[in-house]
Symmetry: C2
Subunit: 373 residues, 2 copies
C-alpha cells in the first residue's frame, strides 16, 4: 500500500456504529462526518469562510467537472484546490464515475475507460482510471477516489456484475498511478442491490489495501429497504481500521442509519440544493420558506440554531428575499441548512456515545418521514 | 422646520468642494459619501456584514419597491428596515419618483399623485406625496425623500417646468406629514437641463427648510456637459449648512466632478450591477473578468486593494466562477467593486484636503474616459 498522510482513528464503538477522527494535512475532523458539496470548486452561493462557520471541515468537489472546466491544469497552477477556492479545511474529490453514468446513453464504456460528450460544449472526452487519478492529483484534494463504473437502478444482475468487476480492475490500475502522500486514494465498492456482488467487490478491493473505502452506486432510486441492507452487509466486508464513505447520502434518516451501520463519511447535495429551492431543514421538520404564512413571521428559521442566518435574519425577511428573487436567500438558507446537517452529525455522534440512537432515530423519523425530492 | 436627529457638519472647504460628516441615529459617516444600492432591502448577493467591511456606512433602499413587496407594514412590523435586513449602518430610502417615471406610458400623473400599474403583478397603484412619506416612515430609514416628478430626457421646457412646480407643491405636502425626529426628510430639486428651472426649484425648496436637499432627474441620458453645468449651478442655490445629494450618480468621474461641485452624497447601481455582469473596477481601469486572458491569472483583481475578494481570491478563480455560472462570482465582485467605490471616495476626500483634485481627476479620466453602461 502507498504511504499516506491520512490518519483514521476509531475512538469508540457501539455495535457497528463508531466514532473516530480523520486527519489530513489540512486538519482533523470527527467522524461520522458530513461533507458539503462544492462540485465546481465552490459551495454554491456561500463564501468559504462562512462554510467553515457552519462547522464543516471537509468539502467535496468533482474531478469530472473541474477536468472539463476550468481544467485541472488551471487548478494545479493555482496551487491546488484549497488555494484555488480559498478553502482552509480538507477536501475530497469524486472521480467522475457517477457523473459519467448520469450522462446516460451518450456514454460508451469499455475496459479501457469511458468515452462521452462534455455536458458543457459537446466535445468528445475520454476518461480512464489513470486519467481520473492524474486529474485528481493535479487538483490536489486530500482524499481522492478511484474511477468507478456506476450502474443505474434497476439493472440486470449480469450488467451489475460486469460493472463491479470492471470497477475492481480499474481500481488496480488507479493504484498504479503515483499519488503524493498528502493525498489518499479510496476504492469504491459497486454491485448495485446484490449483496453477493457487493461482498465480492468489497473483498477484492480490500485486498488492494486502500487507505479508505467508499460504497458507491446507491441512492440512485433503489428501494430504501435494499439500500439499508446493502449498506449494512457491505460494511461487514470492509476493513475495520479504514474509513468508510457512503457516497451521495443523504437524507437525515440515511445519515443516522448509515452511521449506525458503521459508515464514517457522507456527502449530499440535499442541504445546498434544497436551500436554493427555498427549503430549510430544522429539527422540527422541513420548512418551505416561500409559504405565505412566513410573510409575517419574525422568528428565526430555528430557535435552537446558532448559525449566522438564525442569529441575524427572520423567516419574514428570508421569504421576502425568495419571493423577490434575491440570491442572498440562497446564501442564507444554505448557511442554515449546512449548519443543520453539522448539528445533526453532532447529535448522531453524541447519541452513539450515549446509547440514545433509537431516540434520535425516532425523533428524526417523526419529522422527516421519507426521502425529500 | 421639523426637528431631526440628523447632524451635518462641514469641516473643511476648498472652492466649492467640502468635507464633512453626517450623523444619524445609526452612526456617523464622512462626506462626500457613496451609498451602495440595496433596492429590495438587500445589497444584491452580499451579506450585510460583508457590505460593512467594504467601508460602506449608509446604504440606499427604495420605498416604491418595498411598498409593493413585501409591503411597508411588513418592514414596519419587523422593527424597521435596519432590523428587517440586519444592517447595522445608516439607511436612506428613495421615494419612488424615479421608479414611477421609469414605468413610462402606463403612468398617469396629476397634481394629486401618480397612478400606475405594479411592475410585479400589474395591479393598480396610487402614489402621492403623503403616501410616499408615510410608507417611508413605516420603513424607517434615517434619511427619506420627498416624492418627486421626474421627467425623462429629452423633454420640452414646458413639461419640465410643470413637473418641477408640481415637485415643489408635492414637497410642501410631504412636509405636512409627521415624521419621527430619527428620520430626516430631504427635498428634491427638479428642472431637467434648464438652469433657470433648477434655480427656481432649489430656491423654493430651500424656503421650505428641509434638513437636506437632493438633485434629482439627472443621469437620465442628458449630455455630460449639461449634467455638470446643472450640478454646479444648482448647488449654488442650495443652503450651505445642509447636505446635498446627487441622486443616481455615478460613474467614477462623476463622483469627482460632483464632489468638486459641492455635492456631499451619491448613490449608484454601477458597482453592484457591473459586478453581476462580471466587471470589476480598479484604479488601473475596468476589467471584464470573463475575458479568456484571466483564465491563468493568479493575481488578485487589484494588487493595492484590501477587500475580502482581493485578499483571498484570484482573477483565475473569479473567471472560473463566472464562466461556470456560479453566483459566488457576483458576491465576490460586488464586494470588490463596493470597496473600490469607497476607496475612490477616500481618495476624493483626501484630494480635497490636499488640493490634489486635478491630479486625481486626470488619473481617473485616463482609465475611465467615458461613462460605462
Amino acid at each position: 500500500m502507498a504511504q499516506t498522510d491520512l490518519v483514521f482513528s476509531c475512538n469508540y464503538q457501539r455495535g457497528k456504529a463508531r466514532l473516530g477522527t480523520i486527519r489530513t494535512v489540512h486538519g482533523e475532523f470527527e467522524t461520522p462526518v458530513f461533507m458539503p458539496v462544492g462540485t465546481q470548486a465552490t459551495v454554491k452561493s456561500v463564501l468559504p469562510e462562512d462554510v467553515l462557520k457552519t462547522g464543516s471541515k471537509i468539502i467535496l468537489s468533482n474531478a469530472y467537472h473541474l477536468y472539463l472546466r476550468p481544467g485541472t491544469e488551471t487548478v494545479k497552477a493555482a496551487g491546488g484546490l484549497h488555494r484555488f477556492m480559498n478553502w482552509k479545511g480538507s477536501t475530497l474529490t469524486d472521480s467522475g464515475g457517477f457523473q459519467v453514468m448520469s450522462l446516460g446513453s451518450t456514454v460508451k464504456v469499455t475496459d479501457e475507460g469511458a468515452s462521452f460528450r462534455s455536458h458543457i460544449d459537446g466535445s468528445e472526452v475520454f476518461f480512464s482510471p489513470e486519467i481520473s487519478v492524474r486529474a485528481q492529483v493535479d487538483i490536489g484534494a486530500d482524499i481522492i477516489m478511484c474511477f468507478d463504473q456506476c450502474v443505474p437502478y434497476p439493472v440486470s444482475k449480469e450488467v451489475a456484475r460486469k460493472a463491479m468487476v470492471r470497477t475492481t480492475l480499474w481500481a488496480e490500475r488507479a493504484k498504479s498511478v503515483p499519488v503524493p502522500r498528502s493525498q489518499a486514494l479510496f476504492g469504491i465498492v459497486q454491485g448495485s442491490v446484490w449483496t453477493d456482488l457487493r461482498k465480492e467487490s468489497a473483498l477484492s478491493l480490500s485486498r488492494l489495501d486502500f487507505p479508505g473505502y467508499a460504497i458507491g452506486g446507491l441512492a440512485v432510486g433503489e428501494p430504501k429497504k435494499d439500500f439499508y441492507e446493502i449498506v449494512r452487509s457491505t460494511v461487514g466486508y470492509l476493513p475495520e481500521d479504514k474509513p468508510r464513505y457512503l457516497m451521495g447520502v443523504g437524507h437525515p434518516l440515511d445519515l443516522i442509519e448509515g452511521s449506525l451501520s458503521g459508515v464514517d463519511m457522507f456527502d449530499c447535495v440535499l442541504p445546498t440544493r434544497n436551500a436554493r429551492h427555498g427549503r430549510a431543514f430544522t429539527f422540527e421538520g422541513g420548512l418551505n420558506i416561500r409559504n405565505r404564512k412566513f410573510a409575517g413571521d419574525y422568528g428565526p428559521l430555528e430557535e435552537s440554531c446558532d448559525c449566522v442566518t438564525c442569529k441575524g435574519f427572520t423567516r419574514a425577511y428570508l421569504r421576502h428575499l425568495l419571493v423577490a428573487g434575491e440570491t442572498l436567500a440562497s446564501t442564507l438558507l444554505t448557511i442554515h441548512n449546512l449548519r443543520f446537517f453539522q448539528r445533526l452529525m453532532e447529535r448522531i455522534r453524541e447519541s452513539i456515545l450515549e446509547g440514545t440512537e433509537e431516540r434520535l432515530r425516532e425523533s428524526i423519523l417523526e419529522v422527516y418521514p421519507f426521502r425529500e425530492e
